[in-house]
């Protein structure tokens, strides 16, 4: 018996308001994934062929900094989206991602979805609109982090 992931997608805020035909189409490109704490999800420089919706757990987005080692830039938790490098050339990850806690979610075949977005620009618009929102929020967070608001600047 085949269980579709459509109901999960439909309830997820990221896909809120998306037409049913697109939900079904995207569900066809997705699968359930589980990671143990410490598991690498992707590595900087590797082909970025997927993105993830985290349903539970916590994922660290990390970066190797010389003399400082592995540095966590941000964490992505329940209900959030992980990864947008699959959307833009050269389709390679810019950071590492590692499960901090036992984590489960959905993985989406970005390569497959890119092809479908090229074929159907309405779908492409829906996808890019949603990812632009995520990117905007991350940019805003990064700007606030750069301000070092809690530092002692007296």
């Amino acid at each position: 018996m085949i269980h579709t992931l459509g109901p999960i997608l439909r309830e997820h805020p990221f896909f809120h308001g998306m037409e049913e035909q697109y939900i079904q189409l995207i569900a066809g490109c997705s699968l359930n994934v589980r990671f143990n704490a410490g598991d690498a999800i992707f590595h900087e420089g590797d082909p970025a062929d997927h993105f993830y919706l985290i349903r539970a757990g916590l994922v660290s987005v990390q970066f190797v900094v010389p003399h400082r080692g592995l540095t966590t830039i941000m964490t992505v938790g329940s209900g959030e989206v992980l990864g947008w490098s699959w959307l833009f050339p050269p389709y390679r990850w810019h950071f590492d991602a590692r499960a901090q806690q036992p984590t489960h979610g959905l993985a989406f075949d970005g390569k497959c979805l890119r092809g479908k977005c090229d074929e159907d620009h309405d779908l492409g618009y829906e996808i890019y609109k949603r990812f632009t929102q995520v990117i905007t929020e991350r940019l805003e967070s990064t700007r606030l982090q750069l301000l070092d608001l809690y530092g002692n600047h007296a």
Partner: protein
């Protein structure tokens, strides 16, 4: 609709410009640059009543006076706790004080967190850095009457894990009461197992019902502005969103004008404001 919190000090202070001597009971180092003074009045018969969110003027004799929020439990008064960071001449001198030394206190001044008005609602407390200190008295009161409130959520952002205030107390509360605590840090080594990112990123998924929530926010002004934006985006009501503003308070009673903030004085009309009241001036460089 909730009103702006009233000043509750009227009648409690005989001469608001006259410092009362308090004896330091303990100086506790909280983090690398932050410490807490625990104080009792030298006159043991002296009462002291304050509401969560109010502040005192602390006078280091011969050095100067600074406004610092009260961070202790109102039910423990006259014992006072003040958590502050070493940022200038007065706080630097204050940090050198020891148990048994005397310090002058004027206060309490200003408006307070609307703890009573939160009854029957979800309560979201968003703190940034040392902004947790003025919110701690509100947390004490919420915990003391836990059954009066629905969900209580504390979202706390700090610079690093080492900069977290009141860590043991938060752990104890989390274990003892029905209190959701989410902590995030701006930066951390890979050994940190918690959230990394600014505190505003936790708001979209925090477990509260925005249509029946009262929010209290304290931290750097930029953090508070973005926090308000996220809360309103989720549907929180501006008139039930409260924040604690900070300016250069001097007299504490609205006479000197040092803390003028648009049409208000922070020391007298604040520090706790509804967002609805200061929305038009918040973030304006000319104010």
């Amino acid at each position: 609709m909730l009103e702006q919190p009233e000043v509750v000090t009227a009648g409690l202070i005989s001469d608001p410009m006259l410092p009362t001597p308090y004896r330091i009971q303990r100086v506790k180092q909280e983090t690398d640059d932050t410490f807490t003074l625990e104080l009792l009045p030298e006159d043991s018969d002296r009462g002291f009543f304050f509401a969560p969110g109010q502040f005192n003027m602390l006078y280091v004799f011969g050095v100067g006076e600074v406004p610092i929020s009260i961070s202790s439990d109102p039910d423990d008064a006259p014992l006072l706790k003040h958590t502050t960071r070493v940022v200038g001449t007065v706080t630097k001198a204050m940090r050198q004080l020891k148990r048994g030394d005397t310090i002058g206190i004027r206060g309490p001044f200003g408006t307070h967190w609307p703890v009573e008005e939160a009854a029957g609602r979800d309560v979201v407390i968003v703190a940034g850095g040392i902004g947790l200190a003025p919110l701690r008295p509100a947390l004490y009161q919420l915990m003391a009457d836990r059954e009066k409130y629905r969900k209580i959520v504390l979202l706390y952002g700090t610079r690093t894990p080492e900069d977290m205030l009141y860590r043991q107390e938060l752990e104890r509360w989390r274990g003892k009461f029905d209190l959701e605590i989410q902590v995030t840090v701006d930066r951390a080594a890979s050994t940190w197992r918690g959230n990394v990112g600014v505190v505003t990123t936790m708001i979209p998924r925090a477990p509260f019902d925005p249509s029946n929530t009262l929010a209290m926010i304290c931290g750097p002004e930029v953090m508070m502005r973005f926090t308000v934006m996220e809360l309103l985006k989720r549907g929180a009501a501006p008139e039930r969103t409260f924040l604690s503003a900070e300016r250069n308070m001097k007299c504490g009673i609205g006479f000197c004008g040092h803390c003028q903030y648009g049409p208000t004085f922070i020391c007298k009309d604040g520090p706790v404001f509804t967002y609805a009241r200061i929305a038009s001036i918040l973030g304006r460089s000319e104010v």
